[in-house]
């Protein structure tokens, strides 16, 4: 075994430095072993019988997956997951420049049968679609294509959807919302609050177990389960999941315009009556950065104000918005 590429301090180092700071995947995985995971759960060597919950379509797709391999001159590549977490997917797309149509799609997947089947399904589904059409696909669509996935394996379909988003962002030259930017909730599987909110909204998830099934968050040491519960409580106190929920598909420009509009008409007038004010600084994915002005600066109630602004934006723009104050 060769020495590690560089000295690393145990802790959150490899998350910050990222896998690229290691020479090989093996070194990265050895490092993560010593650095991240507490071994306090027994994962015994008994098969849990999940294999027998697979539909025939999942099995068939797993045994004979389509579109395997890489596209050497791909126009877009989307990569999600890691070997440490137990599954990873690399999606390659060939896109027709004029029509924006996906002319070819291929994948490489490390993972269990349902991860491989989901990847194959994804590539079949996106072929022939334009990028905008492809973005309309949900993880549930992938699961449906396969005749359904066992509850505990839904995260495989979520991984497919994420790879697609990453590939399209890559094609469009958009910055991929990097994991490290959101608040980390699940340290075992590297899951941020942002992702939990997003998946919860898209799939109307209300329990911690469901979040674990769809994102793996909470499935390791389990320390973050309380945190996940709090996020869900916060999320659904604003919107009831029972109601048919339409996640608005806004382009970035539309979203920024709408946020600006809400701040101008719904938020600022109220603050101004107390001699306070707020300014929109930036919008990045679901993160909205604001600056408090006037009497709001240094106000003891600033936290409450920010929460109220967030609640308003979640109500009127999209439910996954996270408001942050510029420091």
């Amino acid at each position: 075994m060769t020495a590690q590429a560089k000295t690393v301090i145990p802790g959150d180092c490899c998350r910050q430095a990222g896998p690229k700071s290691f020479k090989t995947v093996r070194e990265y995985s050895i490092h993560q072993l010593s650095c991240l995971r507490p071994i306090d759960l027994t994962a015994s060597l008994c098969n849990n019988g999940l294999m027998w919950e697979y539909t025939d379509k999942v099995k068939e797709t797993f045994l004979k997956p389509k579109n395997v391999g890489e596209i050497p001159d791909a126009d877009a590549v989307g990569e999600v997951g890691s070997i440490v977490c137990g599954d990873a997917l690399k999606l390659y797309l060939k896109v027709d420049e004029k029509s924006g149509q996906i002319t070819d799609a291929k994948f490489q997947t490390f993972g269990c049968a349902s991860a491989i089947a989901s990847s194959s399904a994804l590539t079949e589904m996106v072929k022939g679609k334009t990028l905008d059409e492809a973005l309309q696909l949900t993880n549930q669509d992938i699961a449906d294509y396969l005749g359904g996935l066992p509850d505990q394996k839904m995260h495989c379909s979520v991984m497919g959807r994420e790879a697609l988003e990453a590939a399209i962002a890559d094609y469009r030259g958009e910055p991929i919302t990097r994991k490290e930017e959101g608040r980390l909730v699940c340290k075992c599987f590297d899951i941020t609050e942002e992702k939990i909110r997003k998946v919860a909204i898209e799939n109307r998830l209300t329990t911690v177990d469901e979040i674990t099934n769809f994102t793996k968050a909470g499935g390791g040491c389990g320390e973050c389960k309380g945190d996940i519960e709090a996020i869900l409580r916060d999320l659904w106190s604003l919107k009831q999941p029972e109601k048919p929920l339409v996640v608005k598909k806004l382009t970035n420009l539309q979203k920024i315009a709408l946020i600006q509009d809400v701040i101008e008409t719904e938020i600022r007038p109220g603050l101004q009556t107390d001699n306070g004010d707020v300014e929109l600084i930036d919008v990045e994915g679901s993160r909205v950065v604001i600056a408090l002005r006037g009497m709001c600066t240094g106000c003891m109630m600033a936290d409450v104000t920010v929460k109220a602004i967030q609640a308003k934006l979640r109500e009127l723009v999209t439910a996954d918005i996270i408001v942050e104050v510029q420091s």
């Binding site: 995947v25 995985s29 759960l41 027994t42 994962a43 045994l63 990569e79 049968a113």
Partner: protein, 393 residues
Amino acid sequence: MSIIYLDNNATTQTAPEVLEAMRPFLSELYGNPSSMHTFGGQIHRKIEDARSQVAGLINADPSEIVFTSCGTESDNTALMSALEINTRKKHIITTRVEHPAVLNFCHHLGRKGFRITYLPVGSKGELDPDLILKSVDDETALVSIMYANNETGVIFPIDEITRILADRGIMFHTDAVQAVGKIPVNVQETMIDMLSLSGHKIHAPKGIGALYVRKGTRFHPFIIGGHQEHGRRAGTENVASVIGLGKAAELALRNLDEERTTVSRLRDRLEQGLLAACPDASVNGDTQNRLPNTANISFEYIEGEAILLRLDEHGICASSGSACSSGSLEPSHVLRAMGIPYTAVHGSIRFSLSRYTTAAEVDRVIDIMPGIVKELRELSPFGRDRLTCPKQE
């Protein structure tokens, strides 16, 4: 399609002789061994015969054998008993690689306020007995260490451990569920206070186990009720299965040599065949000190459940330590405790043979496995020297 069953550490087929011995007790001989009449009473004698057979397998006295419902019950009983008979002592020493029957029970005790020391193991899954010496103190009620590991087959130095503990008067329990019937276990030579064994790992049916309790060891029952098993385990006896366990123990004793020779040779043939045919494969665990029937092999860069499902297509049964097949989202706690990198843990497969395994079956697996590994590697974005595909570098 015929089944190639290489998952004998999970469970074994009931031996035909065992089933035959059990049959009358499932039909005409239905009496309760506790009854005063001859019809019931005759069953009692058969149970005592079975007790002698089980005792014979580990060279114990029949009175030292308590029948239980399974290995887990035996383990739980042993741990609880040690704590009950000495309520001032609140410390247990065990290892990080125990079976969940011990490990999760220790977690439970830990939450109840008991102090638990989990000993680490080395990269080959080996245990340093000196660590025990460093961990014992005045509060130590029990040391519970498995005889052999169910995932890797690695055998722990039980003899040496008992010698260390003997001078100190600390009780010692071993979960010997995987060892009994595969390697010689002799409680006359090794100062074990309590030992757990399970029927369905030695070709008896599921739902029967036993706990050996050395004569003179203070004991407190786990299941309380009737006077059965001399008040050491209440509940009407699972008669047919007790008889089955007796027969299985007799057969196991007779076949011990075969385990060391035939089974071990077949295991080596399988292991060497697979290592030669599949690149980036390696054995987990100390190959010099292992159960004769177990091979735990990591096929790097691919995932265990996927391998199992492909093997299943050919009727081949094995197990994996990967996250996907563990029922948890984390991979095998045993392989992680050994420090096996994730690249290898996720692709670990355990093959466990029995005396019913044939050379033809082994050769068929050696034949099929390389194709599966190759195909899944072609699917995988990972490889020996790269984080991702070479294209990006």
